[in-house]
């Protein structure tokens, strides 16, 4: 298990990509694997590793809620979000909405990690009630992506 309790689906691959990222050299960033994976999902890794496209999608669709609530409950959350948000019922629309939100980053050149984005949602009041859960809008969209993909 990783530091944050995640099971890496392909550890060696991540290691290799991490090495790529280190070569890019962002000494001002304290990157751990979680942040890196999330950055990957948002496109950074694609710059250095075009083969990461599949994995980027997988991370977007794996909200941290999965660790807390498990797949069944996250699926319920996702389905409820989909049914209550008619403008975001496809994977493309959800990814686009997450990406659009991402562009409000504090560091313009560097997209926020998904975890930071979720936290910022809570700070800014970008929260939503889904199945009674007080959630960040980003993680609700992630849950919807998870529901669509599973």
């Amino acid at each position: 298990m990783g530091r944050f309790g995640h099971q890496p689906p392909a550890g060696s691959f991540y290691f290799a990509v991490t090495q790529s990222l280190v070569l890019v050299q962002f000494p001002w960033m304290q990157l751990d694997r979680r942040h890196f994976l999330q950055l990957s999902a948002l496109g950074v890794a694609a710059i250095v590793c075009p083969a990461c496209e599949t994995d980027r999608t997988a991370t977007l669709e794996r909200p941290r809620l999965l660790d807390m609530l498990g797949p069944d409950r996250v699926r319920v959350i996702g389905k409820q979000y989909l049914s209550s948000t008619p403008t975001e019922t496809t994977a493309d629309a959800l990814r686009s909405a997450i990406s659009k939100s991402r562009h409000e980053s504090r560091i313009p050149l560097m997209p926020r990690s998904l975890e930071d984005q979720v936290r910022e949602d809570f700070i800014k009041g970008h929260t939503i009630l889904v199945d009674g859960w007080v959630l960040s809008v980003t993680e609700a969209r992630q849950s919807a992506l998870f529901a669509l993909s599973s």
Binding site: F4, G5, R64, L65, D67, M68, L69, R73, E115, V118, R119, D121, F122, I123, G125, T127, L129, D131, G132, W133, V134, L135, S136
Partner: protein
């Protein structure tokens, strides 16, 4: 000294300087404070020294409002009063509880928390509590993991509780009261009427009636009604021979503003990482009576969101568990079993409901039930009136119409929204709000629950048009009548009322000692 009033002749007139009606926490506290003073104190207790079903039945009443527990099962009618079965939960009201809040109609006490602080400190020892300290940092108990969640939050803080053994006033103070030379305790002395002078400016006597129809009177220079909140109102309303609407009721306030604490399961918490978040300080350890915390809305957040004061307990469990409200948890059968257990010397394990199933989670618990404890907004339509039914002494029974306002439900929902946002912001976890709380703000589920905390029927205010008693608990319109107990609370606070009741009783006793 002690006299069983049943042994007195019909027509007997008792005479004292001060007459206290009711020997529960308030009446006994006031009497003890006046022990060994020059004052001759008459302490009238309706019951005896033991539970008696016939006496208890005098508290039976009607309920025409929201679902409520049978009235005769809440307050106890014998020496020691309801302390004979209270659970011992103690925490002081917060300064904001005493303030006028423009978003809470009828809020504001004519005294401040600072006025009560010295009495709170003294009440601690009466209730066999620890020092008057309620900061989480005071109760680490040498355990570095006993720290609050959301330590940096300005919206949510951890409010601490201490636990009384619980102190049974009837047991602890019986000898002291009986042996005090200036205190004359009369048991089986049920007061059924308060009698004023013709001008309705002073109380002259109270009428006491027995099951055999025998009547005696108690005369005094000053009187204190120190019954529980329903009974204090009932007694004033039933004293309607001289004033059609009852004594002290010129402004139609007596019996109104009945308040409870809303004690109901309302949310769930899932931790992001149980290994990183300690919940030790929230654990309930009844056996050791270790002080514990509850998550509470800060005054800053309450002001910003214009909501009531409230807390929630954090109890390990599993998502999908059935969690019971206070009224569901403790039924009359269990109450009787616990009463028998106490009477039998507390041998063996105390009777309780079925044991909660052990958490299914392996390792540290991840899921917690959040159980609300919230003040009820003062509401003039939530009230005690008189029933047409009469008890065995010929006194009209109480009729309870317990009612809520939109603010009550909105406040509880807002509490969980704030808590959820703070849990998310800090990465501590996520909060789920129960379905019933997400609906409209006018309906309540069948398991709506109070905590058997009756407050507010003879409320305190500086203005006689807003309250029955003044800041010294003296009835505005009757110069020598005082009210003791929770009936005078203008607002309910979020936490249980007994510690405040004892503090307020000490304050009233000091007033009585220093005035004539």
């Amino acid at each position: 000294m002690h006299t069983d009033a049943r042994t007195l002749d019909n027509g007997t007139v008792l005479q004292g300087d001060l007459c206290i009606v009711g020997a529960g926490a308030a009446g006994i506290t006031i009497a003890r404070e006046l022990a060994n003073t020059p004052l001759k104190v008459l302490l009238l207790e309706g019951g005896g020294f033991e539970f008696d079903p016939r006496m208890q039945d005098l508290y039976r009443g009607e309920n025409i409002g929201l679902p409520y527990f049978p009235l005769q099962a809440a307050a106890l009618h014998y020496f020691g009063g309801t302390t004979n079965h209270w659970a011992g939960w103690c925490s002081p009201y917060e300064p904001i509880d005493f303030e006028k809040r423009d978003w809470v109609p009828y809020s504001g006490w004519p005294i401040r928390r600072a006025d009560l602080d010295p009495f709170y400190a003294r009440a601690q020892s009466i209730l066999d509590l620890g020092p008057y300290k309620y900061d989480p940092g005071d109760w680490k108990n040498g355990d570095a993991e006993r720290v609050p969640m959301l330590g940096d939050s300005t919206a949510i803080y951890t409010k601490m509780w201490q636990f009384s053994p619980p102190t049974r006033f009837g047991t602890k103070f019986r000898d002291e009261i009986v042996n005090a030379p200036n205190i004359h305790l009369y048991t089986n002395a049920n007061v059924v009427e308060v009698i004023a002078n013709d001008a309705l400016t002073n109380v002259q006597s109270v009428r006491i009636r027995g099951f055999d129809g025998k009547e005696i009177r108690a005369r005094a220079k000053r009187f204190v009604l120190a019954c529980h909140s329903i009974q204090n109102a009932r007694l004033l309303l039933a004293s309607n021979h001289q004033a059609r609407e009852g004594l002290a009721n010129e402004n139609d306030l007596v019996g109104r503003f009945f308040m409870e604490h809303l004690e109901m399961p309302a949310g769930e918490l899932v931790l992001a990482d149980p290994a990183k978040t300690s919940t030790k300080i929230y654990a309930l350890d009844f056996a050791k009576r270790t002080p514990r915390g509850e998550l509470a809305i800060s005054p800053t957040a309450a002001r910003a969101h214009r909501v009531l004061n409230g807390t929630c307990s954090v109890e390990p469990g599993n998502l999908g568990d059935e969690v019971k409200s206070t009224f569901q948890f403790l039924d009359t059968t269990l109450m009787n079993a616990q009463r028998a257990w106490e009477k039998g010397g507390r041998k063996g394990a105390p009777p309780t409901v079925e044991q909660a199933p052990p958490p299914r989670t392996q390792g540290l618990p991840r899921f917690y039930h959040l159980v609300s404890r919230q003040e009820q907004s003062p509401n003039p339509d939530s009230r005690i009136t008189l029933s047409t039914d009469k008890d065995a002494l010929g006194m009209p029974r109480a009729k309870l119409n317990w009612q809520m306002t939109e603010l009550d439900k909105r406040s509880m929902r807002t509490f969980y929204q704030i808590l959820g946002a703070e849990m998310g912001r800090t990465g501590t976890g996520r909060v789920q709000i129960h379905d019933w709380l997400l609906g409209d703000d006018k309906t309540w589920p069948s398991f709506i629950s109070g905590g058997w905390h009756h407050m507010g029927t003879v409320r305190m205010a500086s203005d006689p048009r807003q309250g029955v008693v003044d800041a010294n608990c003296r009835v505005h319109s009757l110069n020598n009548l005082y009210i003791g107990g929770c009936a005078v609370y203008p607002t309910a606070g979020a936490v249980n009322p007994t510690l405040t009741l004892v503090a307020l009783s000490l304050r009233l006793a000091e007033h009585l000692k220093t005035t004539t």
